[in-house]
Each structure stands twice: as structure tokens, then as C-alpha cells.
């Protein structure tokens, strides 16, 4: 059967790297990262329902440097996927598909994701009283 091993798109090797392509790949990568994050959300909710003893180690883990690093990564992933997702929804209306607009949208989505991530973490640390 010749159909077994046909090459399938996307062909990552044959294109010259460019911004809009990076945005698309990053959208996927952050989507996969967020799927792992959803696993953490499920663990967090299950531990919460199981009681205080079960919740304590999950709560403690998320406070460690590794837990915070993961939460930071998921925050940026969510903000990027959200901003770039809105870009996709705008494209679905038929707008913003010309090259200059697609490029401008790419810069805007990255900028928005960085600003929102910073805002979330400044807000989080403010809640712990880190700035007072």
C-alpha cells in the first residue's frame, strides 16, 4: 500500500522562516502547553474537592520555584493563545489577511501577550503584599 507513508503537511523544513510562520507555530506550541496546564487545573480541582490534606501538597508545589516557573509559562501561553486566537477570529471575518495587516497583527499579539503576562504577575505579587 503506497498510501501508508505519504508525506503530510506541514513541511517545516522547506520554508524560509518568517514572523507570521513563527506566530502560527507558537500558537500550536502554546496550545499543547495549555493542554498540559489543563491537566494541572484538573489536579488542582480534584485536590481541592478531596480536602485540605490533599490540597496542601498541590498548593505547596505551585509555590515552589518550579511551580511558579510552570505557572509563569502557562500564563504567557494563555495570553499569547488568547491574543493570537482573537487574531484568528478577526481573520474569520475576512479582515486583516493582507500581508502588512498580518504582520502588524503578529507584532500586536506578541506585545499584548507580554503586557498581559506582566500585568497578571504584578497583580499576583501585589496580592501577596510583595510591594507594600
Amino acid at each position: 500500500m503506497a498510501t501508508e507513508n505519504r508525506p503530510l503537511s506541514p513541511h517545516l523544513q522547506v520554508y524560509r522562516w518568517q514572523w507570521t510562520m513563527m506566530m502560527s507555530i507558537t500558537h500550536r506550541a502554546t496550545g499543547v502547553a495549555l493542554a498540559v496546564g489543563a491537566l494541572m487545573l484538573a489536579c488542582w480541582l480534584l485536590a481541592l474537592a478531596a480536602g485540605a490534606e490533599a490540597f496542601a501538597p498541590v498548593h505547596a508545589f505551585l509555590g515552589t520555584w518550579l511551580g511558579r516557573l510552570l505557572l509563569f509559562g502557562w500564563t504567557w501561553s494563555l495570553m499569547y493563545h488568547l491574543a493570537n486566537g482573537v487574531r484568528h477570529l478577526i481573520w474569520d471575518t475576512g479582515r486583516g489577511l493582507e500581508l502588512p495587516a498580518a504582520q502588524a497583527g503578529a507584532y500586536a499579539a506578541v506585545l499584548v501577550s507580554i503586557i498581559l503576562t506582566a500585568a497578571v504577575w504584578v497583580g499576583g505579587y501585589a496580592m501577596t503584599g510583595a510591594f507594600s
Partner: protein, 124 residues
């Protein structure tokens, strides 16, 4: 000129025999997740450092429980649609592809049910 048969065009199901259902549900859940994920992140900021008692009290209010259930449904529905496409693109062996798709579809459904049950247990 179209190379497709008139019957194929009338059915409008394309080569995947699925039409636009996957695409449409991805957009529907995406639109739902815009406000829901903003609500979730703002809630998590407010809950920074909160212990079991505080988080339980927060989740036990009806509005929070309902929003969390909606967030769970939209998240896991959107997740399995996205992961399906990633698997279909990168896992080329037919048996491995089906195994991965089964894992994602059944796994995300199980996690959604477990998460929703947890919310209800805390809320009631």
C-alpha cells in the same frame, strides 16, 4: 471549474467527510473562552496564596461554580479539538495516530468530568 462531483459539492463534507463541524466548534468554544479565561485569570490573581478554606469558600458561591463549570466544558472541548489536529498532522503511523486520538478524546472527557465533579462537590 470544480473537479469535485456535483454530489460531493451538495454534501459539502470535504475529504475528511466531516464538513465544517470541527472548525465551527473550535470557533464557538474559542469565543466562549475569551471572557471565561479572562475571568479565570483574574480570579487566580485574587486567589494568589489562598489556602484550602479560602479557595473552597470562593468556589462554593453559585456564580463562581457555574462560571468554573462553563470554563471546564469550553476548555476541554477546545483542547481535544486542537490536540486532534496536532496529532493528525504529526503522528503519521495509522495505529499510533488512532491510539493518540483515543487517549486525547477519552482523556480530556475523563478530566472534564473529574473537574466538573470536583466543582460540584465543593459547591454542594
Amino acid at each position: 471549474m470544480s473537479l469535485r462531483t456535483p454530489l460531493a459539492r451538495v454534501r459539502g463534507l470535504g475529504s475528511a467527510k466531516d464538513g465544517t463541524h470541527h472548525w465551527w466548534m473550535q470557533r464557538v468554544t474559542a469565543v466562549a473562552l475569551v471572557p471565561l479565561s479572562i475571568w479565570f485569570v483574574v480570579s487566580m490573581i485574587k486567589l494568589t496564596g489562598a489556602d484550602h478554606t479560602a479557595v473552597t469558600a470562593w468556589l462554593a458561591t453559585p456564580a463562581t461554580a457555574v462560571l468554573m463549570l462553563l470554563f471546564i466544558v469550553a476548555t476541554f472541548y477546545h483542547l481535544q479539538l486542537g490536540m486532534q489536529v496536532v496529532i493528525e498532522d504529526y503522528v503519521h503511523g495509522e495505529a499510533m495516530k488512532i491510539a493518540c486520538l483515543m487517549c486525547v478524546k477519552l482523556g480530556s472527557f475523563a478530566l472534564a468530568v473529574a473537574s466538573a465533579f470536583s466543582v460540584l462537590k465543593v459547591a454542594f
